[in-house]
Amino acid sequence: MTPKISARDVSVFYGAKQAIDHVSIDVDQDNVLAFIGPSGCGKSTFLRTLNRMNDTVASARVSGEILLDGEDIYASGMDVVQLRARVGMVFQKPNPFPKSIYENVAYGPRIHGLATARADLDALVEQSLRRAGLWDEVKDRLTDSGTALSGGQQQRLCIARAIAVDPEVILMDEPCSALDPIATAKIEELIHELKGRYAIVIVTHNMQQAARVSQQTAFFHLGQLVEFGRTGDIFTNPREERTRDYITGRYG
């Protein structure tokens, strides 16, 4: 099976500092892929190269090639706006727009022209909120501000906002690090349900979480991809010394 995203020899520089060092990795359509590694190892940086969010950092420079369905996303003909619609993102800190819950979800479909009639948009909003497991909690207050929700609800709203655009890939940058265990469990459950329909890449500091939600795991250290394989293998039988040290808590 051809991978959804295929990164070849990717290096990222912030000015003169190299943050990612020749990383090659494939993201499968049907799997959840987890990036683990100590703080500052470059896993978030690498994640942000996959939908070109690093473009907003003036000093960032990317070399190598990243193919989405065989198409180089850093090629000059690639439209960044469309790329980000196809590769959605959920951030570490819940960041709903300071607008109504409805507007938060409806914004993406509206700017991409996915639904023009009001009824279609309503249906799309409901469907996205249902898929994000938030519908029952907010259906009576869709006009309330998205920022008035609890942290866990805000993060699920952000996921609903991402899937409302109907992306092919969803990138999650430590989506649970600002949440309590109950909210975290809900997000993890949600990831299980979204799996298969979307290719999911998740960055996490929590190794139990990586073990619970992912089928594949990549371990980053100092900007290098140290080990990449099936999650079960990485956690029970790592090939590399550094991987073993990290997952057994010897450093990190």
């Binding site: 939908n51 969010m53 907003t56 003036a58 706006v81 469309q82 790329l83 980000r84 619609a85 959605g88 993102m89 951030f91 800190k93 960041n95 709903p96 727009f97 300071p98 607008k99 914004y107 993406g108 700017i111 991409h112 501000s145 920022t147 952000c158 906002r161 991402a162 409302a164 655009v165």
Partner: protein, 418 residues
């Protein structure tokens, strides 16, 4: 090697003394702050009270009862002529002014006409226009008195006028009322005939030009500099220049306006258009600076969120950044516009200090503005202008408060919290 540290004795006298000193310093600081607040509140109260005290009489006029028999005066006008457009001209041409003077002489002796304001016959004219039956009967109308009598009746006038007022009051012919003309007419040489509407309208037209130019240009410049401009030496230079422009004395902008708008482009002198352009130059840097700060304060997470659902840079700016920055931008705009509304110096340079007796009806008509009008009236010799000056200041303050109130209303409407 150092001694092992002794445990601190938190009950020692030295500790208590330090605590007391700390509390004393706290009390001193609070008292100083409170004193400063009271002092400024006191100044403000004094200013407002003295303005209201001196200014309210400027909105009122003293009137004298004038028995007049228009029928006997043989005016060559028909009741049909005093209806509609030609009425003013018909009544003036028929010699109404002289008839009013004769009525005053008949009622109050040989210098009776001198008791009346120059505008007294206009009051009679307006009364006839309201009620054409006056053309055929005797009536007693209350008309404005001359400035000297007005001053003597309201405050302390010269001894001559005081004596006359005492005599008239004994006859019971003086009355007071709200001056209709003050809020509807423009400048005049006689203080009983002056009005603030001309200057007020000039100010409103000037402000309209200023905000119409400075707000969109300032906001767009701020957006471009924050969101699009590359960070290099040129943008640094532009930033420094804008900061310096905001600190340039306003008279310099007046000279610039004189040289560019009048000298090079030959726009009309004293026009609200030129005044507005000049003040827009002065206000723009303030709006740019406030706008950039407000845009900078929009959390980056909102930009990230918008970009991540595939919003284009323009959509990020107009759907998210601008609405969130708008309250801050409006605050800067209020400050800039308040300064522009009260500005005198640059407008003197472009000729807005002329004596303008008619309210402007177009942007290119000669006009003056409120602060300049206040400046001109405060320079007058006639004592009747003192209260008019204060009344004009009240009008200026009311306009300022209304403008700020409107801006604060808009700011609160657009304010979103996250």
């Amino acid at each position: 090697m150092t001694e092992p540290r002794q445990p601190t004795d938190w009950t020692a006298a030295e500790v208590h003394r330090r605590t007391r000193r700390r509390y004393a310093a706290e009390r001193r600081f609070r008292l100083t702050g409170l004193a400063a607040v009271w002092l400024s509140a006191g100044f403000l109260a004094f200013l407002l009270a003295s303005m209201l005290w001196q200014g309210t009489s400027g909105f009122r006029e003293t009137r004298i009862a004038l028995p007049i028999d228009v029928a006997q005066a043989n005016l060559a006008v028909t009741p049909a002529q005093v209806k509609g457009r030609g009425a003013d001209l018909a009544l003036a041409g028929a010699g109404l002014e002289a008839a009013v003077d004769r009525a005053a002489t008949r009622a109050y002796g040989s210098n009776g006409a001198a008791l009346l304001s120059d505008g007294a016959w206009l009051a009679v004219r307006d009364a006839i226009k309201r009620d054409p039956t006056l053309l055929d009967r005797r009536a007693t109308l209350a008309v404005p008195v001359a400035s000297a009598i007005d001053v003597a009746a309201k405050h302390d006038g010269n001894p001559d006028a005081e004596a006359q007022v005492a005599r008239l009051q004994a006859r019971g012919v003086l009355s007071t009322g709200w001056s209709r003309g003050f809020l509807t007419t423009a400048d005049a040489t006689d203080p009983t005939r002056v009005g603030i509407w001309g200057a007020l309208k000039g100010s409103l037209l000037t402000m309209a030009v200023t905000i119409g130019l400075a707000f969109p240009i300032g906001v767009l410049a701020a957006l471009y500099l924050e969101e699009y401009a590359p960070r290099n030496r040129w943008t640094d230079l532009i930033e420094v220049s804008i900061n310096n422009l905001a600190a340039v004395p306003s008279i310099i902008f007046g000279l610039l306006g004189l040289a560019v708008f009048l000298g090079t482009f030959h726009l009309p002198r004293s026009a609200p258009l030129v005044g507005g352009l000049t003040l827009a130059l002065m206000t723009m840097p303030v709006i740019v600076i406030a706008g950039r700060n407000a845009i900078k304060a929009v959390p980056p997470s909102v930009r990230d969120a918008a970009l991540a659902v595939g919003a284009s840079p323009v959509q990020v700016v107009f759907d998210h950044v601008l609405p969130l920055a708008l309250p801050g931008i409006l605050t800067g705009t209020i400050i800039g516009m308040a300064r522009a509304l009260g500005e005198t110096a640059p407008l003197l340079m472009i000729g807005m200090r002329a004596f303008i007796a008619a309210p402007p009806s177009r942007l290119t008509d000669p006009a003056t503005v409120l602060p300049v009008q206040i400046f001109l009236w405060s320079d007058e010799v006639d004592r009747g202008f003192v209260e008019k000056t204060s009344a004009a200041i009240i009008v200026l303050l009311v306009v300022l408060l209304a403008m700020n109130g409107l801006a604060i209303y808009f700011r609160n409407r657009f304010e979103t919290r996250w």
